[in-house]
């Protein structure tokens, strides 16, 4: 039978606030084990949490970016469960009144617009991390992550393919980066997701029984986990079996999902309102103030790049999706000295290639938008050729000090537009390529390109190609 897949995602994003959610400890990754904790985040007896307001503001901004209703009056709840990485034996989270709810997210998949509902976004604290060292028989706990603020973004089961899931994840990631509220470093676990997957017969409107997969830590992992789960469930259904509601664990190394617990073993978290924290009241005016801080988001940028700058959708998307690339792009256009298309070509061409090779970010380079504009202007003014410009680019990628005109001078890259010099070259080339000249006169005018190339070669790349072509046409 043919099935349609129904997918819902729960994304946990660590927020990049300066301090943890309920104490003054620094919120930082990669510090020495158990160096970023205090009696409060260690849940020592008698200690109390106090809410970091920045967390609420970050979460509200994400709510605005996904068109959610912001609950002005909300509360925090205790989710009770015992695990060695949870020192209070409960996680402070939000149960029945999330900070944000009923939103949606639009994004493009294969050139089509897709809308996924956002059920809710709530704030909660992260747990510590278990460490299994070979030199030690038991397990060790690092509490540095304990109390790091998280938002959980829960989608409606609106996603219908692994590709859509991937695009949704990418969109959420780029928004988090645009809002500058999470560093989204998957390798550091700052973005994790749980995936709910069910199958229903094609054309049906009734959802099948879903399985939840935990421990999905990469976007490609999410896609593979969904594909695996689709195949697993299809096999069961095709054999006449029924899907049991289960929580499964994605084993990325083996590429399979494994049973974690069945519905019968579902934990009773005994949620109840956190008595150590007061009700959160957010004045409407503050909610609106936060709305005003939402920058232009990738979707809006793509549209603007297409309409105002005439970029094709693919290029517009490639630039808009990457927060540092789009910032760079827009900074280049400030002052209107260069054409958007030229900047786009450089960013997605030579510069992207370097970033790919090095595996680094645009911000890691010494290259500034001002310098790229200067470079492009030199081409536009025909001071240097595009070929020479690539040589200059190599020099200024990692050196922010060296003057561009100095490079042009030192390397002798300046374009020669002196007609006398160029005329001499043209004359020589025409003399040496009698066959080509003959072809030209017999109507094969495209040999002109070959001749321009010959002239350029003779000028060691410095001749002004346009001028050269003009002279060739005159003299041939």
């Amino acid at each position: 039978m043919e099935y349609e897949v129904v997918i819902g995602l729960e994304i946990h994003a660590e927020l990049s606030t300066k301090t943890k959610i309920y104490c003054g400890c620094k919120n930082s990754f990669g510090s020495e084990v158990n160096s970023q904790c205090c009696p409060i985040c260690l849940g020592m007896p008698g200690t109390l949490p106090t809410l970091n307001k920045e967390v609420v503001e970050y979460a509200i901004r994400m709510g605005h970016a996904t068109h959610c209703t912001i609950n002005n009056v909300t509360k925090q709840d205790r989710k009770n469960y015992i695990y060695p990485d949870l020192p209070k034996a409960y996680q402070i989270s939000q149960y029945d009144i999330p900070l944000c709810e009923n939103g949606y997210l639009d994004f493009m998949v294969d050139g089509e617009k897709k809308r996924v509902g956002i059920t809710r976004i709530h704030i909660e604290e992260d747990a510590g991390k278990l460490i299994h060292a070979e030199s030690f028989e038991g397990s060790l706990v690092d509490f540095n992550r304990c109390g790091v603020p998280l938002i959980e973004i829960v989608s409606e089961p609106d996603i219908r393919s692994p590709e859509e899931a991937h695009a949704y994840l990418e969109t959420i990631r780029s928004i988090l980066l645009y809002l500058d509220i999470s560093d989204c470093k998957m390798q550091e676990g700052s973005l994790r997701c749980d995936v709910n997957v069910s199958l229903m017969p094609k054309g049906s409107n009734t959802f099948g029984t879903r399985c939840e997969m935990k421990n999905v830590n990469t976007f490609s992992g999410a896609v593979r986990a969904i594909e695996y789960e689709m195949a697993r469930q299809k096999e069961i259904l095709d054999a006449g079996g029924v899907i049991e509601q289960e929580t499964r664990r994605w084993n990325d190394a083996k590429g399979v999902t494994e049973l974690l617990r069945s519905k019968e073993d579902a934990q009773d978290y005994r949620y109840f309102p956190e008595p150590d924290l007061r009700t959160i009241y957010i004045p409407e005016v503050h909610v609106e103030e936060l709305k005003a801080t939402i920058p232009e988001l990738p979707n809006q940028k793509i549209e603007r790049y297409m309409t105002s700058y005439g970029l094709p959708q693919k290029e517009a998307t490639l630039i808009a999706e990457d927060v540092s690339r789009s910032r760079f792009f827009e900074q280049c256009l400030e002052g209107g000295k260069v054409a958007p298309k030229s900047v786009c070509n450089w960013l997605l061409g030579d510069i992207a290639k370097v970033l790919n090779e090095r595996g680094c970010e645009l911000d890691d380079l010494a290259l500034t938008p001002e310098r790229l504009v200067e470079l492009i202007s030199l081409i536009d003014q025909k001071t240097i050729s595009t070929t020479s410009a690539k040589t200059v680019l190599e020099c200024i990628l990692d050196d922010g000090e060296i003057a561009i005109d100095q490079i042009v001078k030192d390397k002798g890259l300046a374009q020669v537009s002196d007609t006398a010099v160029l005329e001499a070259i043209v004359t020589e080339v025409l003399a040496e390529n009698a066959k080509a000249v003959e072809d030209y006169h017999s109507g094969k005018t495209n040999v002109l390109g070959f001749l321009v190339g010959q002239c350029m070669k003779r000028s060691k790349g410095q001749g002004n190609p346009g001028l050269m072509r003009q002279l060739l046409e005159e003299k041939i």
Binding site: P39, P45, G46, T47, L48, Y271, F272, P275, L277, R278
Partner: protein, 490 residues
């Protein structure tokens, strides 16, 4: 020794007049501890060295002519569920028998800043759950008025130490009556502040939405002084606030009772209340009337259900608060286990006493899926209803007057096998915690056996100043004077 009979206010005067030294007061208190502790057994730990250091510092500053806080040099005992940096904080539980916190409770810091010598940590019912101090893992504290009787609980060690002259002041905590009931049994004054008036930071939580730290003392004036020192908003406790806060509550003691309206809630004088107790409280009402107050009957019809709601809400929160004691990072750990699960189970089985386990089970049950609405949610709904009834009373009453406890101190062992009977000891006090109100417990006579009877003055939110002034006027009018009981003064 005369000094142990004096109130903090009197000692302060003597210190200021340079008639005595702080060292002498501390000496007298430790001498009394040495004499009485074998019978009374209030203390779980003594901090004599640091107490003497603080006293010496006070004397030094006094000699230098420095202006000191009013309670500087007055010895104080701290209930052992308040964290004290570097000093064991056991909650009278085997679970925390060796727990030395690396931080102090905000109230303890304030006590230290005010230069009160801390005499030590005093006994309680395990994790503040109980009404007799008999649930302590370590020892049973005895009532200084009759050693065969309980001092009340859970702040039994605090009350007994103040009554016996083993401390001049004490800090207690009150979740359902834990300051007021032992104050009543031991014939001293205890204030359960408005929820939020005093920081809970560093108080090992029993029921977070009900717990309050409060002063226990020999007079309303002393209570006002200690309350002034410990109250106020604390950035470490999100539930604390500065509403109605007074810098010095003594400034309000002179406020006249004349013209005040006192409500007598009829539900607190009926069945289950000892007749001698009722009579003593009604007699106190007459005293207030003679001082020019108007006394009227009011009604809090929901009160009979308060005990049930209290055991639902407090146990629910306790089950969550006490889940962290797992033997991993601090405290007791079982020696018998093969794996993590067994370590958890055996640690908690061996580390907690019967009453604590009973409440954890009760609390876990009422929060469980399928039961939450029937119990916890209903309990919270009751809370709103009761608050509304109290609000209605305070619309035309300045405070309410009730017995603190239905009876006077009972015998050790008398109620240990009947938890419900034990719970009923708190029937007059729990409604106050559920409504988050302030209440002052103070002596109002003795029963035919010579045991102290206590009355409770319940005020509107942040109305501590009203309660303390009314109590102070009552003391003045009746010529009440604190005395260390004969048994303990021998």
């Amino acid at each position: 020794m005369e000094l142990i009979q004096k109130t903090a206010a009197q000692l302060h005067q003597l210190l200021r007049d340079r008639e005595i030294t702080a060292a002498e007061i501390t000496d007298a208190v430790f001498a009394q501890i040495a004499a009485c502790e074998p019978q009374v057994q209030s203390y779980l730990a003594l901090t004599e060295e640091s107490a003497r250091k603080t006293a010496a510092l006070v004397d030094e500053k006094l000699a230098a002519g420095e202006e000191l806080p009013p309670l500087a040099g007055i010895p104080i005992a701290i209930k052992d569920n308040l964290c004290t940096e570097g000093v064991t904080t056991t909650c009278a539980s085997k679970m925390l028998y060796n727990f030395v916190p690396p931080y102090s409770a905000t109230v303890v810091k304030k006590v230290e800043e005010n230069l009160l010598p801390i005499t030590g940590k005093v006994n309680l019912d395990e994790f503040a759950m109980g009404s007799s101090c008999e649930n302590s893992h370590f020892q049973k504290t005895h009532n200084p008025h009759d050693l065969s009787r309980v001092p009340g609980g859970s702040s039994g060690g605090s009350a007994a130490s103040v009554a016996a002259g083993e401390a001049v002041l004490a800090l207690g905590s009150d979740t359902g009556g834990s300051i007021r009931q032992p104050a009543s049994f031991c014939g001293i004054v205890g204030l359960k502040p408005t929820y939020g008036a005093v920081s809970r930071y560093g108080l090992v939580a029993f029921a977070s939405s009900l717990d309050q730290v409060g002063p226990m003392a020999r007079s309303c004036e002393d209570t006002a002084m200690l309350f002034s020192a410990i109250s106020g908003a604390d950035e470490m406790d999100a539930t604390s606030c500065d509403r109605g806060h007074r810098a010095d509550y003594r400034d309000y003691l002179a406020r006249d009772v004349k013209g005040m309206t006192i409500g007598i809630p009829k539900e607190y004088f009926g069945e289950g209340i000892d007749e001698e107790v009722s009579a003593a409280v009604m007699q106190a009402a007459e005293v207030f009337r003679s001082l020019g107050a108007q006394v009227k009957e009011v009604s809090l019809p929901s009160s009979p259900h308060a005990l049930s709601a209290y055991y639902i809400i407090s146990s629910a929160e306790a089950s969550s608060n006490l889940a962290r004691f797992d033997g991993v990072k601090y405290g007791y750990r079982s020696e018998h286990y093969q794996n993590l699960q067994e370590m958890y189970v055996n640690t908690r089985t061996e580390g907690f006493g019967a009453e604590v386990k009973r409440r954890i089970m009760l609390g876990t049950y009422v929060l469980s899926s399928g039961y939450f609405d029937a119990y916890y949610k209903k309990g919270k709904a009751f809370q709103s209803a009761l608050c509304a009834e109290f609000d209605a009373c305070f619309a035309d009453c300045d405070f309410l007057l009730t017995p603190t406890v239905p009876q006077t101190a009972f015998k050790l062992g008398e109620n240990v096998d009947d938890p419900v009977k034990m719970y009923k000891s708190d029937i007059c006090t729990v409604p106050v915690n559920i409504a988050g109100l302030p209440a002052l417990a103070m002596p109002c006579g003795r029963d035919s056996q010579g045991l102290p009877i206590g009355m409770q003055l319940i005020g509107p939110h942040f109305g501590e100043d009203v309660l303390l002034s009314a109590g102070h006027h009552y003391e003045q009018a009746t010529g009440h004077q604190f005395t260390v009981p004969a048994i303990a003064s021998k």
